[in-house]
């Protein structure tokens, strides 16, 4: 397996801190990371995922318009023959919506997992390892036991 993940901030959103840290975290965890940066379109995600044969597409959104930005996203991925696990995380709804409803909304849009903005990178990494059936590197398992 290529262990390649494609990472980006969707739509017109320019919040870069989260994906910068995610990029570092996934790289440290042994993944190949393609970081598309901010203001990435659905088509750019699909193209990069196909070109790099990505196993996961991680979408970040922090400005509250994720729902609009992700309409039809999985159709675009399918049209580009991308068969990857898809995660989304961030501030996914404006205002006081309750989290369970938000999660359902994005699962209905086709995402495999939905994370809120408080999620640690480690949690996403652990989930992706489970989803891709990857064993963590030896050093990390040792560290986790100390």
């Amino acid at each position: 397996m290529s262990n390649t993940v494609v990472l980006g901030v969707i739509g017109s959103d320019a919040h870069v801190v989260g994906i910068t840290i995610l990029e570092q975290a996934f790289r440290t965890a042994g993944f190949n990371v393609v970081n598309l940066g901010v203001q990435t379109s659905q088509e750019e995600f699909a193209e990069a995922a196909r070109a790099h044969d990505a196993e996961a597409v991680l979408v970040s959104s922090l400005y509250g318009h994720a729902k609009q930005d992700c309409q039809g996203f999985h159709d675009v991925l399918e049209a580009a023959d991308v068969d990857a696990v898809t995660y989304i995380g961030g501030n996914l709804a404006v205002g006081q919506d309750d989290w369970e409803r938000t999660r359902e909304t994005f699962e209905a849009l086709g995402f495999d997992r939905v994370f809120d903005s408080e999620t640690d990178p480690e949690e996403a990494i652990a989930a992706l390892r489970r989803d891709l059936r990857i064993t963590p590197p030896e050093t990390e398992r040792v560290a986790a036991n100390t």
């Binding site: 801190v17 975290a25 203001q39 640690d120």
Partner: protein
Amino acid sequence: MIRDERLPSDELRRLDETIRTDWSTGADIDFEEAIRYHDSLPANKRFADVLESADDPLLQPRAGVPRLEDQIELLAYLHESGEADLLPTTIDSYTRDNAYEKAKEGLENARETGDDTLNGFPAVNHGVEGCRELIGATDAPIEVRHGTPDARLLAAITFAGGFQSFEGGPISYNIPYTNRHSLAETIENWQFVDRLAGAYTEHGVRINREPFGPLTGTLVPPSIAIAIMLIEGKLAATQGVRSLTLGYGQVGNVVQDVAALRALKELGQEFLSDEVCVTTVFHEWMGGFPPDEARANGVIGLGGLTAAIARPDKVITKSPQEFQGVPTMEANASGLRTTRQVIDMAIEQDIDIDGIDREQQLIERETRNLLEAVLEAGDGDVVQGTLAAFDSGALDVPFAPSDSAKGAVLPARDDDGRVRILEWGELAMDDEIKEIHRARLSQRADTEGRDQSFRMVADDVDAISEGKLIGRPEPRGDA
């Protein structure tokens, strides 16, 4: 090939005429008449004079609403109840994207519904007359604050409209904001803005220009911010700007912040021509705020104390409602008065902290490393050097969304809370400096019993909003 050279008059004229056609209100600009208008303004509305002649730091908030009458009222409130010395007019996002048609719809909508359907004042749509009504109705100098990569028409209209201070610059309003404009493009745009400010200056109207110091607002190492301020200052001075306010955003460590503001002032005076009057502006913490007004007031209080010691010429204040976005005008005024109280209680005190000089020397040395790399990369030309240095990563900004910056630099706090560099990428810095940073971060790693890693970065980014300066790991076990 674009270089750091003064635009010739005929080029200025040619550009000016083109730009005015971008939107209908451009037609109302008359340079000669604008000079006469500026000359008619009373002393207390001359931004550069008021700022440069002040004894103590002047305070300025951020504020902008779509409708003219609301903006007049908002500024009057911040001036009277907030005791702001200098006033802002923050521009809406559509105007920043040059989407004047959308701004027009938003403004019409605001006028019909009474709601703030834009997140700022669409100065281009208000036009020269609208700006002058605002200037005329307001009893303090006003600056245009925005975030516009291509601010040429905005500058032409607001200068003609009586504004005498204009924030931004080709790097500071590009790299931290967007990845939709190349650096070469924004440098060209801002050469025009600065050249126009220079033209006013030549005619006796000294337009104050203020590069945006906080950049991405997220743990920016002081030397990177200062190097970019000096570059933008130099580019502006070349075009004839004579009143420059260089900016710096609080990192929260008092010694480092005071040292950085002193380095900024000293290098500014050294690096820029004697014709330029260099002042400094200190931005209260631009990173994430605690989701709690009480704690936010603590962050603001520390900013005020830092300003009292460093004595910048201007302080841009935050409000206790920073966490939730745009504050009410009451909260905005409250941030001003909290800052004022701390400054006025502390500024007459002799608070001389050990280690400021040493930190200042380090910052200056780092800044010189960066500047030398830029000049070398451009064979002495700052514009070409800046393009090349950003391209190679010799100059870089952490957490920048723009593709024009490598974004390979990662900062982290040391054991004392000062911002150091963990990942250097290709940043032009000598090995001795890198070793100093490494040693300081290693000391922190020892204290925390963990390796130096991106976890520190992630923890530090959230630390202040979670109530601490340094993102320490949670204590283990049952502690």
